[in-house]
Symmetry: C2
Subunit: 392 residues, 2 copies
């Protein structure tokens, strides 16, 4: 196994009415002024935002607020947040929402704690030295950003979606009440489930030695999310299923399911980032749309591992031929995606790029032909082009 680091310092308060502890949690972080950062109307309509404001008031914590975060959160709002916080003397950011809001908060945090243009980090020009402390009230189970070291931001001009990771941005706490996710539209719930599964699948389908402990956790996590994704399609208010999926979301991206590995593949995420940046699709749905095409393209570089995935996760019968078993596993996962009404192609995702647009996607995904993506098999611009074409 590989030399492995693990660092997941976020304090989790999980369960019904957990959000009532928000004021106290913020207060004990010892800040002067908080930015409450949020997205659209749902946290307002549900009354959650007012309850958070009230909780901060009760705890004697001063705050300002900034809403308007959209899925595939925009750099322009990040800049706006940085300015607002500088003006107001903000020293703590409370993200009330899902991954987009948390990622936007992380970017604002980087911008405030370092000199220069925050986009430089996402553009891989510099590395950050610090981040403002961040707290989370989670309302969407998907991105795992509440415990992860990553954030993904989209630059408005050109729709360039880029991720940046460092331990500095791991939230100090996350308040997680599964009930808050019950009112999500079904498409967002299921898209979130795919995202959660993929955070572990990206790590599991790797090119390294692996630990049995990590493998078993990963297999169980994916199977559990699959089971409850199906239940939630029919019963969106099932508390137990909401809880399983929500906690899986945090564990799937906090490092646990990658422990002892090379860190995983992540090509599917890179492939999706370009789709998300250019077509503004839901992240999880975008992942589902390209995963099968990626898997078939790289399968021969690691048939044994894909066969293990097929047997242990998809419960496919071991044919004795790794390649064949692996293919059946990929088919079974695509059948699962369809069963929860997730796409397995760009067409099903609702976008129909021309061949020229596919060339453009591949060019951007390869950072203008300056990088490869993936670890199972290193993919250059031509490989990326072929996978996108296959995924149309």
């Amino acid at each position: 196994m590989e030399l492995s680091n693990y660092y997941a310092p976020t304090k989790i308060v999980f369960g019904k009415e957990a959000e009532k502890q928000t004021g106290e949690l913020v207060r004990t972080c010892g800040c002067r002024k908080v930015l409450v950062h949020y997205g659209g109307g749902s946290v307002k309509k549900s009354g959650l935002l007012d309850r958070i404001f009230a909780a901060l008031g009760d705890a004697g914590v001063a705050y300002v607020s900034l809403g308007g975060v959209v899925p595939n959160p925009r750099l322009s709002l990040v800049y706006e947040g940085i300015e607002l916080c500088r003006r107001e003397g903000v020293d703590f950011i409370l993200a009330v929402g899902g991954g987009s809001v948390i990622d936007s908060a992380k970017a604002i945090g980087y911008g405030l704690a370092n000199e220069g243009d925050v986009w430089d980090y996402y553009d891989r020009k510099r590395t950050a030295e610090a981040c403002l402390p961040i707290g989370v009230v989670l309302t969407i189970a998907a991105a795992g950003s509440e415990m992860s070291d990553s954030s993904v931001i989209t630059k408005d001009e050109g729709g360039i979606k880029r991720g940046y990771s460092s331990n500095y941005c791991r939230p100090k706490f996350a308040v997680m009440n599964p009930e808050l996710t019950m009112t999500l539209p079904w498409y967002q719930t299921e898209s979130g489930c795919v995202d959660i599964m993929m955070h572990t699948m990206e790590r599991y389908l790797n090119q390294s030695e692996n630990m049995e402990l990590t493998d078993g956790f990963s297999e169980h996590l994916i199977r559990t999310v699959m089971k409850h994704a199906k239940i939630l399609l029919e019963h969106p208010e099932d508390y137990a299923s909401r809880a399983e999926v929500m906690w899986a979301g945090s564990l799937s991206h906090n490092g646990l399911t990658g422990f002892g590995t090379d860190g995983g593949d992540w090509a599917t995420h890179q492939l999706e980032h370009e789709l998300g940046g250019m077509y503004d699709v839901a992240h999880g749905a975008g992942l589902a749309a390209v995963w099968g095409s990626w898997a078939r393209y790289v399968l021969d570089a690691r048939p044994k591992r894909f066969a293990q995935f097929a047997v242990q996760v998809m419960e496919v019968e071991d044919t004795g031929d790794d390649r064949k078993t692996a293919e059946k596993g990929i088919e079974a996962m695509e059948a699962f995606y369809r069963s929860i009404q997730m796409p397995t192609s760009m067409k099903e995702l609702g976008i129909e790029p021309t061949e020229e647009e596919i060339r453009e996607l591949a060019r951007k995904c390869s950072f203008d032909r300056t990088r490869t993506i993936g670890r199972v098999k290193k993919l250059d611009v031509e490989d990326i082009y072929r996978i996108y074409m296959q995924a149309r």
Copy 2:
């Protein structure tokens, strides 16, 4: 499920030669002077201690050292450590060893960061408000103290062994090189494996609702440790097995396997604490010696859960009768303990208390009849007496 907290902020550096990073890890904690705390001759003989001293020197970190920690670590040495640290202006403790050394370091940390007698916390007279920061170089996989909130200390007079838990003492970092555990005597390795399994079994065999995610992790963790405990009996230098067991040790006691539960039972640990305090037995072996007697005594309070344990962990066939299945599961676990040469009774543990001594053990375990222990079934002094008698 229950309202659940999770907080495991320890930074883990895991793998071959991980200890080389110790100096840098201590340095980034920003301390002035470090106490290097350790046990007996093995870390000296192996050269590890000298390598740690050299690493601290290279990192420009000043230090003093205090050895002599014994299994069931003594309060007297804790007092000595507190005095030494006060005199030397120590503001960081580096524990080089296993659970006993880390627990001793935590107690010294409490003593330095709070006023008054440190034993008050273990004696449940006061609660701590802080703890000096602690780092760990782990050499024994067992107690999980490198990520846990707990420490257990034995008062020299009367052999009173007591635990105290708070988030303040969770280590800042833990350096974990599985190779460092290869030279342990087999009895300590296997005893450690039992301790690791028990930290999850105590949580799993509970009286609450449970999450599927947590259950699956727990079942897999216990099965994985069982498998590798057997391998290590024959092949103590198997790196992969050492790694599986070592990481399982941290995860088993950092809160992960109790997530969403009532926190677990812990009666077996309380029963063992009295044995450890009075007879100075190895902790894991002591747990194995009493577990079966505890399990049979409380089984009827939760037959369904014990049956799940039997089927999912011990891979016993489901008889359709929970009680019968559960009993087979307990038998199977005892057979496993014997297979790794661990005791299933006090006699096999090497102690033969008189009935009067059993009365004394029960009296002490019930804190002079002022408390019950356990959650599956609340056990008073008479219950405790009967379980001890059964375990003779």
